[in-house]
Amino acid sequence: MQRFDVVIVGAGIVGSAVARECALTGWRVAVIEGATPGGGATGAGMGHLVVMDDSPAQLALTAYSRSLWQQQSPGLPKSVEYECCGTIWVAADDEEMADVHSRQRIYDNAGVPAQVLTAAELAQQEPNLRTGLAGGLLVPGDGVVYPPAAAGFYLAQAQAQGAVVFLARAASAAHGEVVLSDGTRLIADRIVLAVGAECDLLPSLPIQKRKGHLVITERYPGFLRHQLVELGYLKSAHKVTDDSVAFNIQPRQTGQLLLGSSRQYGNEDREIDADLLRQMIERAKEYMPGLERLSVLRAWTGFRAATADKLPLIGPATGLSDDPSLWLAAGFEGLGITNAPGAARLLMDAMLGRESAIDAEPYLPVRMLEPARLSHA
């Protein structure tokens, strides 16, 4: 039996970020990982650091967390591949262009630099986009990281402060005790569940898997400079049922291109859905016709952890459990990488009872008890 101040279940980007925060505070930290650290959604997704404004709460959290990434960036090792390449939200027509202008105002009010690009400016920034697009919104402070290395870095920083990593499955985690599959018992005042889309430890977790597809190409340096997202992406991310695809492409430091995206509910199958992959690629070709000739190395799937109101669960598990030792850092959907440092900081604030830099109420798990909140998107 071993005693800790906190036991964190899950060594993905979020669990690792939480571990780092706790360890830097001076706590005795244990991190439990049943598979490979960073091998879940962290290893499957795009490492996009993006300010997303699909709700004021999402905007606040992503802006806050992105600023933490920017602060940390000088200290990040090369393996994390941090690149401040910016995002361009691409408008295909006048209706989407009107959306660009209103979003520019929203970003501006939130203190996030964003610049409207005309059709000509868009073409100049990204010559491989097809002609005839309406323009876009450039957000220069957005960036890209290689997520497994980032999670690995956070975890290593925690370990440097004495955190202990257990490579084993947690069989149970409740009332201050975590029991591992090999029988090891860990006692702590606080248990943090940062378990991605696996909810076995707390069946009341209102998280659903949202399957995604990604494709990575060979190296084509210079083909793409910014992360590109079609404005329809938000419509796709909004859907709570139905399969959908949306054009989203990222340049990696290697020169490889990472292409997505797709969303499927209620599909737990790890296999590639050939038909949906085809739709995703067809959608991408509508924006960048030159993609069809590029050489592809791999295609894979992953599972995002989604909540009904599209906001993560950060804070005490109150409302989902009457276990006072349980805390949650879960349900990040497609924003796990972006929101990891911010969520870790908010969770730390909650555990220490100190004030947060942003209003933490929208992310509290207790909101899940109130149906009125769920319809407010």
């Binding site: 060979e218 190296r219 084509y220 290697t254 000739r293 050489s295």
Partner: protein, 86 residues
């Protein structure tokens, strides 16, 4: 059957026997065919299309496995540029 086939390697014409692969032509010209991700010159390793060390730009298309391509008249081959400090 022509006596030789002429392919351009980095802008320089090279004559090879018909039936010569592009990888062999690059070796005959003593030219590494690619630069690795950390800047090392590389030449073919496996000769059978599985190692991808022999990749070069053939007729404008990058990432072509040259050990699997026969030299053809007027083919252009470009390797990654590198100064070898001759």
């Amino acid at each position: 059957m022509p006596e030789y086939v002429s392919v351009s390697i980095n802008g320089v014409p090279n004559r090879v026997a018909p039936g010569t692969t592009v990888a062999a032509a690059l070796l005959l010209a003593a030219q590494p065919n690619r630069i690795s991700v950390t800047g090392q010159p590389r030449s073919p390793l496996c000769g059978m299309g599985i190692c991808f060390e022999c990749c070069a730009v053939v007729n404008g298309v990058p990432h072509r496995r040259t050990c699997q391509i026969l030299c053809e008249p007027n083919m252009t081959v470009e390797t990654d540029p590198m100064e070898f400090g001759k």
